[in-house]
């Protein structure tokens, strides 16, 4: 009996997810030992971001030819601007990205180079550019560090099915055919379990199923995971799905998967006797089996990460997820559905078991880094886990989500958490308004929240706050109060994760929507898998206002929080990179001082009475359109403002057609695009600024460089030279 478990793309690339190791450990502990785990997400990232694969993309995209065609136009419509933005970048940097991608991955995996912030930023940017080059081949589909979106909506089953055959826009058809399928063919499993947690995995997962079924129709494929708790029942009504899979597992997967494996092994598989399944019966009817009892997670084995490609993740240290609990011990917030995904009820492992899990994993995988993948750190664990870690003499660094439990996180608890290696706590703060929090049934006192945050900071632990905007009945003034409270306390807070409220049909608030003054709900008749709904509030802010305030929030956060400023790289690689940097530097203060905000020397070009010379690490191309203007115009278009946005931020075809007609065309206007090979940064440079840089030839004096500039704007020119020096694009020849 051989089982293959697959985590399909797209998940984050900085650490393994917990589903496969949990399932594999459970199967092995229960006699099904021939279990193979495949993280197709990290494997595909590693392949897509390889020199050979990106060279193929560069060849297929033909950026230079495409750009030349656009340069012949008198003006650019919306689609033309999008294309111009993409192709001008690739024409400038495409070959560098191909040449540097392997080194970039090496840097992110290197214990020495990862913590050299300049090298880290170079590598992170190169990786993102690599993803843009790869995505250009499959445009408008887009693969980033955080998502995979296509023009096909994952809220519509017919579109998902259509995406499975679109080789031009679905990169996973080719990838699976060349890589994952041959691996599965070699294994030749009797049962394949595919874990689908995120909407971004839906199309890749079913793409793989289609290829597997074309190869071996008799193999039983079961789909499980968090996303299916929301959509499996709806998806089961799409007839085409039953040619791709054999069953869905709802809620937690251990029990049903074991029974499937045992049934197949015995040769008497009877799906009707396995709990938490959806399958198609011989009669053609869709059958739902009764709910199985939730597992007592104290009986579960330690997750088993064997078989996963642990050296492929884009981090220098392995950060292992570990679930000490399932569900949420609070479980009352009316907007939340997350804690129902894993099954009803709250369950926890003991503190001793959690420490033992850490000990085992730490010794086996030679790592000291853990992410407690739980809804929130329960009070007993907050109080007892630190001492247990210290008693066990475990040298670990870890982080977790937690509730703002004012009675739990006193200074002594915060100090002991820090002493045990806790580097970061992320709290569900949501709002500064007592009224809004009470309506959410959040059970926290906003007046006491910042005192708690202060104690956590006092202990040296980094604080993240989750905030929500647009909860039904919330006013714009209340949302702004949240923002101003956060800004007022910004010295205490390191990160804020903000999002707009979504009306989720499985939430308590959806069931009781009249109580929350939700007047109407607008389901999209074409979206048979829809989970989130647009709605009309009777009071408080409108949906449009909620989005506007959200954008206001994000602008303010970028202005005031060091982690979100400049390159924002640590934020974007949030899952593990920020945590690893924190652990390396010990405290937030040290990280901020040493890495994020090192003292910069301001360049005063007047002090250089030498002969400046442009760096040979900088390269420019001349463009017929103003890239800065195009960037600015495209950035003002927010797909979520245009229409409710839940699973994709791509502009809909319908909106695109309208923009192409209605938007004023971008006129011709020369500009330069500059690539700094040292930092991998790309800049829009005005022709006048570029001319100054070009005149810095190591022979001319500064005076001679700017003498070409009309006198009234020479001050501007000098300031510009200072900026060029600041960027490191000008070196000096002293003493000539």
């Amino acid at each position: 009996m051989r089982v293959a478990l697959v985590f399909p793309p797209q998940g984050h690339f900085t650490q393994p997810y917990l589903s496969l190791p949990s399932l594999a450990a459970f199967l092995r502990a229960n006699g099904i030992v021939d279990v193979h785990t495949i993280d197709a997400s990290i494997e595909s990232y590693d392949h897509f971001l390889s020199r050979a694969r990106l060279a193929r993309s560069l060849e297929r995209v033909q950026a230079q030819a495409g750009l030349e065609e656009l340069e012949l136009r008198e003006g650019l419509d919306f689609s033309g601007m999008e294309r111009y933005q993409r192709l001008s970048e690739l024409a400038l940097i495409g070959q560098d990205v191909v040449d540097n991608i392997e080194e970039a991955k090496r840097v992110l995996r290197s214990r020495e180079d990862f913590y050299d912030y300049e090298r880290y930023l170079w590598a992170g940017r190169t990786l993102e550019q690599g993803l843009r080059l790869f995505s250009a081949e499959f445009s408008p589909s887009r693969l980033t560090a955080h998502g995979f979106v296509t023009r096909y909506s994952v809220e519509r089953s017919a579109e998902i099915v259509a995406a499975l055959g679109d080789e031009k826009e679905n990169p996973y058809i080719e990838y699976f055919r060349e890589h994952t399928l041959p691996k599965l063919q070699q294994l030749d499993p009797d049962l394949i379990g595919i874990s689908v947690t995120f909407p971004s995995q839906a199309i890749p997962a079913l793409t793989l199923c289609k290829l597997i079924k074309a190869w071996k129709p008799t193999v039983h494929i079961t789909l499980g995971g968090g996303l299916l708790a929301y959509v499996a029942e709806k998806l089961s009504k799409q007839p085409a799905i039953w040619g791709l899979i054999d069953s869905f597992v709802m809620l937690e997967g251990e029990g049903p998967l074991l029974q499937l494996a045992q049934g197949i092994e015995r040769g008497d598989l009877d799906l009707s006797r396995i709990g938490n399944l959806i399958y198609r019966a011989a009669s053609g009817e869709i059958a739902h089996t009764p709910r199985a009892d939730p597992l007592d997670i104290k009986t579960l084995p330690t997750p088993d990460f064997d078989g996963l490609p642990l050296d492929l993740y884009f981090t220098p240290e392995l950060v292992l997820p570990l679930a000490a609990t399932r569900g949420c011990y609070w479980g009352k917030c009316v907007f939340c559905t997350l804690y129902t995904v894993i099954g009803p009820g709250y369950r926890g492992r003991s503190v001793a078991q959690t420490v033992e899990d850490m000990q085992k994993l730490s010794a086996k995988y030679k790592t000291r880094y853990f992410y407690l993948a739980i809804e929130d750190l329960p009070p007993n664990m907050a109080k007892a886990l630190p001492q247990a870690i210290l008693d066990a003499k475990l040298d670990v660094a870890w982080w977790a989500d937690a509730r703002l439990e004012h009675d739990v996180f006193d200074q002594a608890v915060c100090d002991s958490l820090a002493a045990s290696g806790c580097k970061r706590l992320a709290f569900g703060y949501e709002s500064a308004s007592r009224r809004v929090l009470d309506r959410m049934c959040k059970g926290i006192d906003p007046d006491a929240s910042m005192d708690l945050v202060r104690r956590v900071r006092q202990a040296g632990i980094s604080v993240t706050l989750y905030a929500m905007i647009g909860f039904p009945t919330e006013t714009v003034a209340e949302a702004r109060e949240t923002l101003s409270t956060i800004l007022e306390h910004r010295e205490l807070i390191q990160e804020v994760s903000v999002r707009v409220f979504y009306l989720d049909e499985t939430s308590e608030i959806y069931k009781r929507r009249k109580e929350f003054d939700i007047l109407e709900v607008y389901p999209d008749p074409k979206s048979d898998l829809q989970v989130y709904y647009d709605f009309k509030p009777g009071s408080g802010m409108t949906r449009r206002e909620a989005r506007d305030v959200y954008l206001e929030f994000t602008r303010e956060l970028r202005s005031h929080f060091p982690v979100f400023q400049n390159t924002n790289m640590l934020y974007h690689e949030l899952k593990s990179h920020y945590f690893l940097y924190l652990a390396k530097h010990g405290t937030w203060e040290a990280l901020r001082e040493n890495v994020l905000e090192p003292t910069k020397q301001l360049a005063d070009p007047r002090s250089l009475d030498s002969r400046p010379r442009a760096s040979n690490l900088v390269r420019m191309i001349e463009l017929g359109f103003d890239r800065a203007s195009i960037d600015q115009r495209l950035s003002t278009i927010d797909s979520a403002t245009l229409r409710p946005r839940y699973q994709s931020d791509l502009v809909e075809d319908e909106d695109r057609k309208r923009f192409d007609v209605e938007m004023e065309r971008e006129p011709r206007e020369a500009s330069m695009l500059l690539y700094d090979t040292r930092t991998a940064e790309i800049h829009c440079v005005s022709p006048a600024a570029a001319q100054l840089l070009e005149r810095c030839d190591g022979v001319r004096t500064l005076e001679e460089v700017i003498e070409i500039v009309p006198r009234p704007v020479r001050e501007e020119a000098l300031r510009c030279v200072g900026e060029l020096v600041q960027h490191g694009w000008i070196a000096q020849e002293v003493g000539r």
Binding site: E89, E128, D631, I682, C684, S686, R695, I708, V713
Partner: protein
């Protein structure tokens, strides 16, 4: 508004095409190397649109 700011706002200083612009002292300006029609706007900005506008929501989901 300073004269310089006004000048920029009004449509930027334009370089001479063969002959010095009126606003520039002839003796002080070398026109050799000046590009005809050059607008003397000195701007440098990151060309990384997704970097600056990436949606916090996308990041929060995973």
């Amino acid at each position: 508004m300073s004269g310089q700011e006004k000048q920029r706002k009004d449509g930027e200083e334009v370089a001479p095409a063969g002959s010095p612009a009126e606003c520039v002292e002839k003796a002080a300006v070398k026109t050799e190397g000046a590009k005809p029609g050059m607008k003397y706007v000195f701007k440098i900005q990151p060309a990384d649109p997704k970097r600056n506008s990436i949606d916090f929501e996308d990041v929060a989901d995973k």
